[in-house]
């Protein structure tokens, strides 16, 4: 259904719900990156892109802890 809404938005040149949601989220926050990945998701693997964002964040935190403590 979201794709249909995207189509609607394309026809109208309007923002779809996810794009509207992004405008209310802090740029580059985890929430924004998750929503962006949701917008770009592969329909065949809808969750994978969001998992990738989360794994990227996990690695960032891991690196930060190691950088500060070692």
């Amino acid at each position: 259904m979201e794709d249909l809404q995207s189509n609607n938005a394309k026809h109208l040149g309007q923002k779809n719900n996810s794009e509207r949601l992004l405008t209310h989220l802090e740029e580059d926050s985890l929430a924004a990156r998750l929503v962006q990945s949701y917008c770009r998701r592969d329909p065949a693997k809808p969750i994978e892109s969001m998992k990738a964002v989360l794994q990227e964040r996990i690695q960032q935190v891991r690196d930060t802890i190691d950088r500060h403590k070692d």
């Binding site: 979201e2 609607n8 719900n17 949601l21 929503v35 989360l54 996990i58 891991r62």
Partner: protein, 836 residues
């Protein structure tokens, strides 16, 4: 951008429509179709819906009555093999004409949806293909841009929760709920299988001050220092001397722990040594023994006894250096000692030396075998737990009894004890078997060594060592089976003992302290997961807040649009639609608010729920305003409105006919209005004539034939359709009226042909009024030469003229068959020459 426009709709066998295909022409942006009650208006609206979605929303909205829609789509009077379809000719967003067709392949049945086949330009297609034509559906249940009476009434009649859900889908934000749920589901990814090391860390004794590491993971050196510090504190607290190094401190803690536990129970009796590694004798060992046997064959016993004598003889130059035969110095036999015999003696001496060397090596190999057997015997003994090595009396005296273990562990632990006991006997048996075998092997090796020169039997030795290896393997299996139950038993026992000896968590401390690097890795990973989990929770809260803002934005947008349409429908009323919003604190409830003002300028309104204060007419009007707002918001190319105005609502109708429709056409949007109100039909025909409004009427001649569509805006086709319905009438007056209609249709056909021919030749000024007053008698001879598509066509027109003339005069009109044939002929010519 070009919006999709429907140019015509053809229906066959769908709901009220019968076997004969009925076509609704929609040449302009506005169309109005009149039909009395139960004459197929709603069926026509649902034909649009079926074409676009493959279903009808009425069934979805009336969930409790879904079974009642069994066989509802196929006309009840249709022959079994007749195809049911709806076809639309449309100009799509690509600017091209397309034919979209939906064929019913399976009707609704009890608890079963209908099935259909979508075709676009003759090819089987999908909803996605339909979207490519610019027909993008909304969320269910109102997917198609078709508004019917039952839709409006449904909105305000369902339970409040269902209404909230209904409006939520109407306002299309459920995708954000899906998004939110998908993100929330990611939390499970943050928690991999439990880390045993962290489990032990979390169960450290309270007096061990290391918990802060869960929040702030120190660097590796600090972590070790803190462990060292904690170890020292633990030993001090136990009243013992603190050693210098961490290793020694941990060993001391281990010692104290054992001592304390042993005060309650001799837990060390469970200790056992790992079964040491053992390899069967290497091939080299057997090779060396075999070499000895080979050498021994070369030198017989007598030679071995004479070797000393040979050695001495060869020391004499008179013998060792002879070139001619000499007498034997031992027996004095003349010329017995020849150079050849001396050479033979030398060979005997050499062989005897090789033999001695190999014997030495063989003895060394046998000593290795002996050591190997001894080592296994020792290993078998060491691998046994202490309690199995101690004599029963000594064991009992130390307090190591099963009864004591049961008592310590308490109720409910029989399973642990039984599992352990079940592995003790096999372990004991395997150890004894190995020990016994090792003794037997030892004796054999010793015997073989002592009888080396006379009776060495390598096959027997090999066989014995193979048996020894088998016993060892069986002991290794028994130990493997024993380990898990005894570990569980010890863990349970240690828990009890730790509680009684105030050493709870000490073992955990020892375990983590001995793996500082692994502990740090686990702490970092735990910290990472906790941090990201908190961030994910925070992200979800942000998304929730943002979602509310999106909803507020959308609701605000919709509120504005709904207000606009409301004002067009019911301008200047003191009671007015105010806003659509979520109910505070109840996210599943959507409120529609109305303003009540005592003043003409609507100032100082009291805000109330529309459901409570709006009249049926106002609620109806609000439903229509919402539908129009959505259609405008989504940029739909066309809408179908089935009786959008209540018949009792005259004031509201005026505004709909004028302001509302004008605004919709300005958007621009194609509007198809179905109405039972004849005045509305006439008014719209007059009001929008400048826009070439398409008009049509629905009627039913015979129930079995279903609804007929008369496209009244196409004067020619309208007359033919009217005549067709009259042609079937049995009464002569009806056939006479049919003849009059047909005569008018024939004259119109001829005039249009003549005008078209002149236009084709460049006479742009040609118009129908040029032939005012001309009858078929004048027109037909002028038209017949222009009917060139087939030689039979002029004849068809001539026969048509005769039939019509007979019907229109005073004599009895031709029969049904003749009139029907005349209708068919003129319709054929119209479609072939004017309306392809």
């Amino acid at each position: 951008m070009i919006a999709t426009r429907i140019k015509s709709l053809a229906v066959r066998g769908f709901r009220a429509y019968g076997a004969a295909e009925q076509t609704l022409n929609l040449p302009s942006d506005i169309a109005v179709i009149w039909g009395p009650n139960s004459k197929g208006k709603t069926s026509l609206a649902e034909a649009f819906e079926f074409l676009l979605t493959g279903r009808i929303s009425r069934r979805e909205l009336m969930a409790s009555a879904q079974d009642e829609f069994a066989d509802a789509l196929r006309n009840a009077h249709l022959l079994e093999d007749a195809e049911v379809y709806v076809t639309a000719s449309m100009v799509a967003v690509d600017g091209k004409s397309h034919e979209v067709r939906r064929v019913l392949t399976g009707d609704y049945a009890k608890r079963q949806d209908c099935t259909s086949r979508l075709e676009i330009d003759g090819a089987v297609s999908t909803q996605t293909d339909l979207e490519a034509l610019g027909i993008v559906l909304s969320q269910p249940p109102l997917e198609a841009p078709v508004l019917a009476q039952h839709t409006l009434s449904y909105i305000f009649s369902v339970r409040p929760q269902d209404r909230a859900t209904y409006f939520k889908t109407l306002l299309e934000v459920t995708d954000l709920d899906d998004l939110r749920n998908d993100i929330a589901a990611l939390e499970s990814d943050l928690y991999p299988p439990a880390d045993p090391l962290l489990g032990k860390f979390d169960a450290l004794p309270h007096k061990v001050q290391l918990r802060f590491m869960r929040h702030t993971v120190p660097d590796a050196a600090t972590l070790v220092a803190k462990i060292d510090e904690a170890a020292g504190a633990l030993i001090t607290e136990a009243g013992e001397q603190v050693p210098e190094t961490l290793d020694k401190r941990l060993a001391e803690i281990d010692r104290i722990l054992v001592v304390r536990r042993s005060k309650t129970f001799p837990v060390r009796n469970f200790d056992f040594t790992q079964l040491v590694g053992w390899n069967p004798p290497a091939a080299d060992v057997w090779t060396r023994i075999d070499a000895y046997l080979d050498e021994s064959k070369k030198v017989d016993e007598q030679t071995r006894q004479l070797v000393a004598l040979f050695d001495e003889a060869m020391k004499l130059p008179a013998i060792s250096e002879i070139t001619e035969p000499v007498d034997c110095p031992l027996c004095a036999t003349q010329s017995a000692m020849t150079p050849e015999r001396v050479q033979l003696i030398r060979q005997h001496i050499e062989h005897s030396q090789d033999f001695k060397t190999s014997e030495k090596i063989a003895r060394s190999a046998l000593a290795q075998l002996l050591a190997s057997a001894d080592a296994l015997g020792t290993a078998a003994e060491a691998a046994l737990p202490k309690y199995l090595k101690a004599k029963p009396a000594v064991r009992r005296a130390s307090g190591f009894t099963i009864a004591r273990i049961r008592k310590l562990l308490g109720d409910g632990t029989d399973e642990i004890i039984s599992a352990w006991l079940a592995t003790v006997r096999p372990l004991s048996k395997a150890a004894i078997a190995l020990r016994t075998r090792a003794s037997v092997t030892r004796a054999l090796v010793e015997k073989q060594t002592s009888e080396l020169t006379t009776g060495l039997d390598t096959e027997k030795l090999r066989s014995e060592f193979a048996a020894l290896a088998k016993c060892r393997a069986q002991l290794a299996i028994a130990i493997g089976t024993y380990k898990e139950p005894v570990t569980s038993l010890c863990a349970a026992l240690n828990d009890v003992l730790d509680t009684q000896s105030d050493t709870v968590g000490w073992q955990n401390f020892l375990d983590i302290a001995r793996q500082p690097e692994e502990l740090r890795r686990s702490l970092v990973e735990g910290k990472v997961r906790i941090t990201v989990a908190q961030e994910l929770k925070s992200a979800l809260r942000q998304i929730d807040l943002a979602k509310e803002k999106v909803l507020d934005d959308k609701f605000s947008d919709y509120s504005g649009l709904i207000q606009d349409w409301w004002e067009r429908l019911r301008p200047d009323e003191p009671t007015f639609f105010s806003t659509v919003q979520f109910r505070k604190g109840a996210k599943r409830t959507i409120d529609f608010k109305a303003g009540l003002s005592a003043n003409v300028d609507r100032s100082a309104p009291k805000v109330r729920d529309v459901i409570a204060i709006f009249s049926q007419s106002q609620l109806h009007c609000l439903g229509l305003a919402m539908f129009l707002a959505r259609a405008q918001h989504e940029g739909l190319g066309f809408i179908v409105l089935d009786d959008p105005v209540l018949s009792s609502d005259e004031d509201y109708r005026v505004h709909f006919n004028s302001t509302v429709l004008s605004e919709l056409l300005k958007i621009p949007m194609q509007v198809i209005v179905l109405t039972q109100d004849h005045n509305t039909w006439k008014e719209l025909d007059l009001r929008y004539r400048h826009l070439s409004i398409a008009t049509a009427q629905l009627f039913v001649d015979a129930p079995a034939e279903g609804t007929l569509i008369e496209n009244t805006s196409d004067v020619l086709l309208a007359k033919i359709n009217r005549a067709r319905s009259l042609a079937r009438g049995g009464h002569p007056d009806l056939r006479k009226e049919c003849g009059i209609q047909l005569r008018d249709a024939g004259e119109r056909f001829c005039k249009e042909i003549l005008v078209k021919e002149r236009h084709d030749k460049g006479d742009a000024a040609a118009c129908l009024t040029d032939y005012d007053g001309k009858t078929l008698e004048w027109l037909c001879p002028h038209v017949e030469p222009l009917l060139v598509h087939d030689p039979s066509h002029p004849g068809k027109l001539a026969v048509f003229r005769n039939t019509v003339n007979n019907a229109c005069h005073d004599n009895t009109p031709p029969g049904n068959a003749g009139m029907t044939q005349a209708c068919g002929d003129i319709l054929f010519l119209v479609k072939d020459y004017l309306r392809p």
